[in-house]
Amino acid sequence: MSESPETEGKRDFLKLILGGSLTVWLGSVLYPIFAFLKPPAQPEVEVSSILAGTIQEFEEANAKIVRFGRKPVIVVKLETGDLRAYEATCTHLDCTVQYRRDLGVIWCACHNGKYDMNGRVLSGPPPRPLEQFRVVQKDDDVYVTRGDES
């Protein structure tokens, strides 16, 4: 009625801007949501910080290195069948140790440090034994937590 072609034009323009920005905005909201819903490349939570694996895994290999937060932890199975867990950081210069079945020791590749299966230093440069972690077995799952074996 009291609208000039000019105002009509403005109205259409505003409508266009409103509609357009609304659509773009909706897109900017929905895009993150859909991206979120897409499962990431690594679909499972990194369970290795606590759940070290299943008891069956230790039947074959006798030791496994898992990640506990930011540190590596080596879980070894003794001849007696007990499971022990130690921080896999060598106390000499922080290299990651490994289990050597042929030598029967926990061995550090950097400077030939050797620890026995109780984490105590046998020979080489390491000054202190390996820090011990607690191993708990629930059904078939093997868990590693902080704290000493009591």
């Binding site: 819903l37 990431p40 990194e46 369970v47 937060g69």
Partner: protein
């Protein structure tokens, strides 16, 4: 034209998709009656109109919480072993996981803040007076639930601060006489805070509380729609007959939406520039870290309890403190029924002063608690 009221928004064009959809539904549920009713809804325009927006902001923030909460549910694992790691996973491996999680944490705090502002503005305006007593009660119950949401949700990351804050918080709940001990065991799902506590809190947070909250919210909203916006003291009824108003649809709603848009941007800003921290995983065997504090919305009560002496006469100071706050909360809940002056159309000055005191007290003790 009806006096002082522009015509309601009707479907625009015949044959447009909106019109066809509208007619389709109308033929089945008589939508028209509802639409007409809603179309008449108005919002008084006066110097205190700004407070009307806070109910909507609270609602918006709650919706944000539900949406982000559902998204987080798709990746969160609520067990002692995995909770912390699952949130780490969301923060680092899931695309935009950091954003969803930080939004959820920030919006939780803003939700409670908006709800408090809403609550106090209603209080000072005495909007709870007849006929809106039930609206107040449902609102207060929702507020208590919101605090419950906050307390239960805080534990879910299972980090050090949360673990000890929950320990302290449930200890305080356990200080209540008679019901304290069974309440503590019920909350903790045992004597101590363990993985069982986490599971229970998770259940509260995603099922129990949302269920109850939705019912209360439904009642609250229906009442607001049915009864319309409350008008300032002493001017009841005048707004329908000449004093300045604006239609709820589309004016107030669009303004509401605009505000919601800005709040959304604020939350995004907070999420990007002040991401919510995760901290260290909880270790029940380790000693409590320094500086455990409850979230800011519990701080004033926590700080008050700290100042109460250990014993007052034959009673334990903490017990009295908890009882006091419980009683205060109960009184606050039934204020519409206690405020006799409002029933006869008078604003009780005593209540206004009490309200100001309470607000200042909360602000002061929250600040003291944060500085300590």
């Amino acid at each position: 034209m009806t006096g002082g009221q522009p015509s309601p928004s009707t479907p625009k064009k015949d044959g447009s998709i909106w019109f066809r959809a509208y007619t389709w539904i109308d033929e089945r549920v008589q939508l028209r009656t509802l639409v007409d009713f809603l179309g008449k809804k108005y919002v008084p325009v006066h110097s205190h109109s700004i407070w009307y927006y806070f109910g909507g902001v609270s609602l918006f923030l709650f919706i944000i919480q539900v949406l982000t909460g559902i998204l987080l549910l798709l990746y969160y694992k609520g067990s002692e072993e995995l909770a912390f790691e699952s949130i780490q996973f969301i923060m680092s491996k899931v695309e935009f996981g950091w954003l969803i999680r930080s939004i959820h944490s920030w919006a939780a705090n803003l939700f409670i803040l908006a709800a408090m502002i809403h609550m106090f503005s209603v209080f000072f305006e005495r909007a709870y007076r007849k006929p809106r007593e039930i609206t107040w009660v449902t609102g207060m119950l929702m507020f208590f639930l919101a605090l419950g949401f906050g307390f239960s949700g805080y534990l879910l990351p299972w980090n050090e601060l949360a673990f000890f804050a929950t320990k302290v918080g449930t200890d305080i709940a356990g200080a209540l006489p008679l019901i304290g001990e069974p309440l503590l065991v019920f909350l903790r799902s045992g004597e101590d805070v363990t993985g069982a506590t986490l599971t229970r809190f998770f259940g509260f947070h995603v099922a129990v509380f949302p269920g109850i909250f939705s019912v209360l919210l439904g009642i609250h909203l229906i009442l607001v729609q049915r009864q319309g916006m409350s008008e300032p003291f002493g001017e009841e009824g005048e707004y329908g007959k000449g004093k300045k108003t604006m239609p709820f649809f589309p004016n107030f709603l669009l303004r509401d939406l605009l505000l919601w848009l800005l709040v959304l941007n604020l939350i995004a800003l907070l999420a990007v520039f002040f991401p919510w921290e995760l901290g260290e995983k909880a270790d029940p065997l380790a000693s409590a870290p320094a500086g455990i504090k409850p979230e800011w919305y519990f701080m004033f009560m926590f700080q008050t309890l700290k100042y109460i002496p250990a014993h007052i006469g034959p009673f334990e100071g903490e017990q009295l403190g908890v009882l006091f706050f419980s009683a205060a909360g109960a009184l606050w809940l039934i204020i519409p029924f206690l405020d006799r002056k409002s029933k006869i159309g008078q604003k009780s000055r005593l209540l206004t002063y009490a309200g100001i005191f309470i607000v200042l007290y909360i602000i002061l003790f929250t600040i003291i608690g944060w500085m300590a």
